[in-house]
Symmetry: C2
Subunit: 336 residues, 2 copies
């Protein structure tokens, strides 16, 4: 273990988080059954398979165009279950609140959670609240949401099923969430409103449950498309090829990324999924996704290469090839 | 809703927390199936009943005589499942860590979690880490642990089953946890070491699974015996009678409470349970508890009165009767 002090980068979802998990958590938790490679753990119970997950939500400011801490804390955990091929059923929320947070702010967040849970048809069955002394000037509400779902697919959509030649389908445009939160924090984009894509992915994924050729699904949160593709490469040992021209990016997002110097590949999303599907089924799956509201801009953006090197390569619009490294450092703190 | 700002008392487990739940959370979460009256929600799944719970752990300092944040974060959630009559099986932990926390501290906490989980035979299957900027001088690790168990008893040990005349059995001495943490924080009790009672209650409760006359079990955490008895009275509408002379309190704890002006009835515990059992079965249940390591000091400490007023009355050692009000305000911040 050579992590001297915890840094923001250890929570980034990139290589810092991987290091924290590898060096501190896995040595202790490996034999306890920790399943760090999946968004949710799979648990056998009688004839059913449960999916079980937990996720912490930290966002500043708590309200931003297109969403807020409350909708994030419901949909984020729902999505971790949905991408395994499970139907989300039950949630439990732990609140950690700083002294001095206004009651009206907490009430608005609870109202947003209610709305998101009702829309998704999930129950919120258990909760807990701790209050901590506020330090410095920042008042905070931290929500940790655990969720239970029931696996609906014959096999879970997880990494052991990924094959060489699998096609990668992205469910829609990338980058809105990070820019919406940073915009709300900094007062940017006054005339060019960018809204978070925060959404429940289950309705988009449910029609795919009966298709046997879906091997793997992951939602693109911290670390973005670039981060998730690197995790996929690391977990499978295969290379990933991405086609830049096929990656859907909103015109405003692209413009602001150029101005601000951000690479949209690393921006976080809260309502997008990446799917690895059998090559022969790719067109059909793409068509199914495009029939849904959230998947209407779905696009075939890459494939699992035959190359046995866990590298992510972007085939650029101008015909070049460049390495997409795993994100390092803290890209954008407190965005999800 | 008339909570203007969140205060420490809203996280105390007493009347402040009740107000927060009543005024902010229940109006939004009631229709989502929130089960605030139990330590764990009960969920039907095929022929089985799952228990599902979540709890946040905030303690300063993170290491104290008899336990630490890690053992607390495992045993606390296990106990919320065990007191419903469930066997704890799977845990998920969300970490929120301040920038600057030493890697060795986090490693020691993870090691303690590992040890507690192995001892309890539970799996830790999912996790999440968020890093927040540290504000002020206090570095923090906040752990939120969700847990799933399977109900083992024919009926859950919960409030609807409590009856007039039920006997109240306390599983052991009260008050050690609060004093151990405050002692470690303040440097008290150098020569008179008081250790936390942090423990897994499941082995003590398991022998009771087949007994039909156990109506209700609760662990005594924040708010202590006085807080839990008031919650029981409020939830059932019955009064609670306690017999002061029968409540086991360690001599050192009693002495320090007198010196410090604390009422041991409100001190938090992390390894004690209160049981409501049918009058005819009380002696047998007490005997079963006393056979176990954790329950060796179990004592019959009160009963559910026939009085239809939800008040808690302490029958004092000198023959008086005094009201034990629900705890208000923040008793002891950041102890569990």
């Amino acid at each position: 273990m050579n992590i001297e002090f915890i840094q923001l980068a250890h929570g980034s979802g990139g290589s810092g988080t991987a290091k924290l998990i590898q060096q501190i958590f896995l040595p202790h938790f490996h034999e306890l059954g920790l399943q760090p490679e999946n968004d949710a753990a799979l648990l056998s119970l009688g004839s059913k398979t449960l999916a079980f997950t937990i996720d912490g939500f930290v966002v500043e400011p708590p309200f931003f165009p297109g969403g807020d801490l409350g909708s994030l804390a419901i949909n984020g955990t729902i999505n971790d279950l949905a991408v395994m091929g499970a139907k989300p059923l039950w949630l439990a929320c732990g609140f950690i609140i700083s002294v001095g947070v206004a009651g009206t702010v907490l009430d608005r967040i609870a109202a947003s959670m209610q709305e998101a849970a009702i829309a998704a048809g999930v129950q919120l069955v258990a909760g807990d609240t701790k209050v901590i002394e506020s330090q410095g000037k920042s008042l905070q509400i931290l929500i940790t949401t655990a969720g239970i779902g029931i696996l609906q697919t014959e096999k879970p959509w997880h990494t052991p099923r990924v094959r060489c030649g699998d096609q990668l389908i992205l469910s829609g445009t990338i980058g809105e969430h990070t820019l919406a939160v940073l915009g709300a924090r900094q007062g940017w984009f006054q005339d060019d409103r960018i809204t978070s894509d925060c959404a429940n992915l289950y309705p988009m994924l449910e029609p795919l449950h009966s298709l046997p050729d879906i091997h793997w699904v992951r939602d693109l949160t911290r670390g973005g498309l670039g981060g998730v593709c690197n995790e996929l490469a690391q977990a499978t040992g295969y290379g990933v090829e991405l086609y830049e021209a096929e990656i859907p990016i909103d015109r405003s997002v692209r413009g602001w990324c150029e101005i601000l110097g951000y690479d949209p590949l690393y921006l976080a999303n809260e309502g997008k999924a990446l799917l690895a599907v059998d090559r022969r089924a790719a067109a059909h799956v793409l068509g199914e996704l495009q029939k849904t509201a959230l998947g209407r801009h779905a696009s075939l953006v890459g494939e699992i290469s035959s190359q046995q090197q866990p590298l992510v390569i972007l085939n650029t619009s101008v015909g070049g090839r460049r390495l997409v490294p795993a994100p390092t450092g803290e890209l954008f703190p407190r965005i999800c």
